[in-house]
Symmetry: C2
Subunit: 288 residues, 2 copies
C-alpha cells in the first residue's frame, strides 16, 4: 500500500509512524512545503520517499495534516491529483469550512473529513511519537458523502491504530470542539501572557511555579501558525465560548469582591465533577 | 527524632513518606480532625502513631498541612504546646496573614513559615506519593524570625528531601504566587464550569475532549475546602491577577471580532516564550 502524508509534523508524522509499525509493508511518501522538515522526516525514518503532487496518482491513502487555511486551498488540488481508488483524509481541527468547500468537488466521494483528537503541544517531524492515536477518538464528518469502499479502507487503518470512531455533522463538531479544545488553548495562551507580563524577571516565575501552573499553560507552547487559522475558521463559536468564559471569571471575581466565600466554595465544588468526566479522556501513554 | 504531622493529606502525607524513607529511625505522629483520615494514614504506614496536641511536647519537628484558615487558628495553639527545641513548619499557600498573626507569639522563634511548591490535584492520605518534594522549591518567609538552630534543623530535613530553598518576604510571596498558582486554579475551575454548563450531556465532552483539555482543567479537581480560604486570604492579589487575565481574554476576543488575525498570531507567538520558562519547572517524577 502506498500511503502519502502531506504535512509531516506532529500529527502526520505520528500517523505514519504507527502506520509503518502496524503495516510494515507500506511505502510512505512525504510531501511538505518545508524542505528541511521533509529531510528531517526522511532521516527519522517517518517517510520512505520524498514526493510531490505529480506522484499522488500512486497513492492508496492520503493523510493531509497541514494548517486549516492551507487545507482549504490544497485539498481540491490533492483530490484532483489522486486516482479513483484513493481515499484522502484530513486531520483539521475545524470541519465546517473544509466540508463546505469540498461539497461540490467532483471527487468528493474520495474525501473523508476527519478530526483525530490527538496531539501534544509540540510540532515538527521530531515531535512525532509512537502510539499517539491509540485509544483516541477520531471524529468523522459527513461520512455518507464518502464512497463506501473508501470509508472501509480508511476505517481499517484507523482501527489498526487503535482509534475509536465517532460520527458528527461539521456544524456540531465545530461548536463542541470550540469548548473542549479551542477555548482551552486561548485560556492557556492568555494565562501565559498574564503571568509573563507581570513577572518581567523570568527567574521569579521559574522559582515559584509548580506543576499546576505548568499544566494550565502547557498549551501556550502550541504553534501560532496552526492555531491562528483554526480560530479564524471557527471564529463565531470561539467568540461564544470566550464570552461565556469571561462571564464566569467575572462572576467569580464579583464573589471575591463581595466576600461571598460560600459562593466561591460552591463554584469550585460544583465544578469538581469534572473529575469523573476526565476519567474518560484517553491520554497519551508516554505523556512526558 | 519525633516528627509530628498535623493534617495528613496529600501534602503532609507525602512529606512524612519521604521523611521515613530518608530517616528510617524517625517516629511519625499524626494528628487530624478527620478520624478516618487518621486511620487511613496509619493503615497506609504514613504515620506510626495517632496523636493529639497533648503529646506535642514530644515533637522535634512539626509539619502543619491544613487549610490556611484553620492554620491561622491552630498555629498559635500548636506553638503553645511544643517544647523550646521543636521547630514548627507550615505548608500554606498564603504567607502574609499567617506571618502577621504569629508575629507577636512568644514562641515565634520556633516557627518557620514555608510554602513548598509541590502538589497534585488530589487530596487525602491516599493521595500521598513518594518523592513529591524532590527537586521542588520551598519558599521560606521571614527566616530571620526563626531561631538559627531551628532553621538549621528544618533545612537539613528539606535538604534530605531534595528541596531547593528560596527566601522571600510574605508580601512578595503572596503577590507572586497569585500569578503562578492561584490564578491557574481559577482559570482551570472556570474553564471546567464553562464547558460543563454548555455540554449538559457529559458523553459529548468525554468523546471530544483530548489531553489538551485534560491538562488545562486538571486543577479544577482540586479541593474547594483547601482553596476557598486561600482565595480569601489572598483576595486583593487574586482579584488583581483575575482582572489582568480577563482584560487579556477580552483583548483576544476584540482581535477576533475585528478579524485581526495577524494580531491573534502575534499574541500567541509572543506567549510561546513560555516554552523556555517552563523548561525550568521541576515536575513530579511520577506525574501520572
Amino acid at each position: 500500500m502506498n500511503v502519502f502524508v502531506i504535512g509531516i509534523g506532529l500529527i502526520g508524522g505520528s500517523f505514519v509512524k504507527d502506520v509503518k509499525t502496524n503495516m510494515p509493508e507500506t511505502i510512505v511518501y512525504g510531501i511538505d512545503v518545508n524542505a528541511s522538515h521533509l529531510e528531517e522526516a526522511l532521516a527519522l525514518g517517518l517517510i520512505d520517499k520524498k514526493s510531490n503532487y505529480e506522484e499522488l496518482h500512486l497513492a492508496d491513502f492520503v493523510m493531509v495534516s497541514i494548517p486549516v487555511d492551507v487545507m482549504v486551498r490544497e485539498l481540491p488540488k490533492i483530490l484532483n491529483a489522486i486516482s479513483d481508488e484513493c481515499v484522502v483524509c484530513d486531520a483539521g481541527s475545524t470541519k465546517e469550512l473544509i466540508c463546505a468547500e469540498l461539497d461540490d468537488h467532483p471527487k468528493r466521494r474520495n474525501f473523508l473529513a476527519c478530526h483525530p483528537i490527538a496531539g501534544t503541544e509540540f510540532s515538527g517531524p521530531s515531535a512525532a511519537i509512537d502510539g499517539l492515536y491509540d485509544g483516541k477518538t477520531n471524529i468523522i464528518c459527513e461520512v455518507e458523502k464518502t464512497a463506501f469502499k473508501l470509508q472501509e479502507k480508511a476505517l481499517s487503518i484507523f482501527q489498526l491504530l487503535g482509534m475509536r470512531i465517532r460520527y458528527m455533522n461539521p456544524k456540531a463538531h465545530d461548536k463542541h470542539i470550540a469548548y473542549v479544545s479551542h477555548l482551552s488553548h486561548i485560556s492557556s495562551f492568555m494565562l501565559g501572557k498574564t503571568v509573563i507580563e507581570k513577572e518581567k524577571n523570568e527567574r521569579d516565575i521559574f522559582d515559584m511555579a509548580g506543576s499546576g501552573f505548568e499544566s494550565t499553560v502547557r498549551l501556550a507552547k502550541s504553534s501560532p501558525s496552526m492555531w491562528t487559522p483554526i480560530f479564524e475558521q471557527n471564529k463565531e463559536n470561539v467568540i461564544e465560548t470566550l464570552e461565556e468564559y469571561i462571564q464566569n471569571l467575572s462572576e467569580f471575581k464579583a464573589l471575591l469582591l463581595k466576600d461571598d466565600f460560600e459562593g466561591i466554595y460552591n463554584e469550585m465544588n460544583n465544578t469538581n465533577k469534572i473529575k469523573s468526566i476526565l476519567k474518560g479522556i484517553p491520554l497519551n501513554k508516554n505523556n512526558r
